[in-house]
């Protein structure tokens, strides 16, 4: 089970701040996950924007980075400061 975190406007889009889910077996990289989530939430590309960063276990990663079903995965729109 992966722990998913959606921040900022992505929590509005997905309807979740946090969810736990079983990643389908074909999802190997952060890029795969992005594509899959965008379809799943009908994001119309919102999750594919390069300004939306992905963090695995609190470290920013690339789309080519490997992910596993036990990770904490965060989707981060551009930060706005405090």
């Amino acid at each position: 089970m992966a722990k998913m975190l959606y921040f900022g406007r992505l929590s509005d889009l997905t309807g979740f701040v946090e969810e736990t889910l079983d990643l389908p077996g074909h999802i190997q990289t952060a890029g795969d996950l992005r594509q899959w989530l965008d379809l799943r939430f009908d994001g119309d590309g919102a999750l594919l924007e390069p300004t939306v960063r992905i963090a695995i276990n609190s470290e920013l990663c690339f789309d080519s980075s490997a992910i596993s079903d036990t990770d904490e995965i965060a989707l981060l729109p551009p930060v706005g400061g405090g």
Binding site: L5, F7, G8, R9, S11, D12, V17, A55, S58, A74, L76, P77, P78, V79, G80, G81, G82
Partner: protein
């Protein structure tokens, strides 16, 4: 010292405590930011601030390290609130102490630029007109840019 928490911030109380840790420092500069009652979208009811721990804390701590390297400081304090924050309530408090007042001013100013533009927060503004996620303002980027220019010329 750094706190990121959804508990209310009492700037006066934080200053009082900070003073005891930096007695005879010479100069203490504080910044308190509170939720403005008015925005372009109308009368503000509240902000809702999300942080991502420990990324948010790590980023602020790194900026505090930068400040300590750049200026001769005898103390530094940052408190940032998260969650729902009503108009008039304090979002952020920064205090910098130094033997030199210029160093105290510049360090507080530098940290506020970091906190306002680069800190890992997502901010929703709730007005009568509805709720919107706030992106950084161009002015904030310019302010932060000032420090970059300074680093290059030195």
């Amino acid at each position: 010292m750094l706190t990121v928490s959804d508990a209310p911030i009492d700037a006066a109380e934080l200053l009082e405590t900070f003073e005891t840790t930096v007695a005879s420092a010479g100069a203490i500069v504080t910044f308190s930011g509170n939720v403005r009652g008015q925005s372009d979208a109308g009368r503000v009811q509240m902000l809702d601030l999300q942080a991502y721990s420990p990324m948010t804390q790590n980023g602020i701590a790194a900026a505090m390290d930068d400040a300590n390297r750049h200026w001769p400081l005898s103390g530094l304090r940052v408190a940032h609130r998260t969650g729902r924050i009503l108009a008039g309530e304090t979002i952020v408090f920064v205090a910098a102490a130094s033997a030199h007042r210029r160093a105290a001013f510049e360090a507080a100013d530098f940290l506020m630029d970091y906190l306002k533009t680069k800190a890992v927060f997502w901010k929703k503004e709730v007005t009568e007109a509805g709720a919107v996620w706030i992106e950084p303002r161009a002015q904030d980027y310019e302010d932060a840019q000032r420090w970059r220019a300074k680093e290059t010329t030195e």
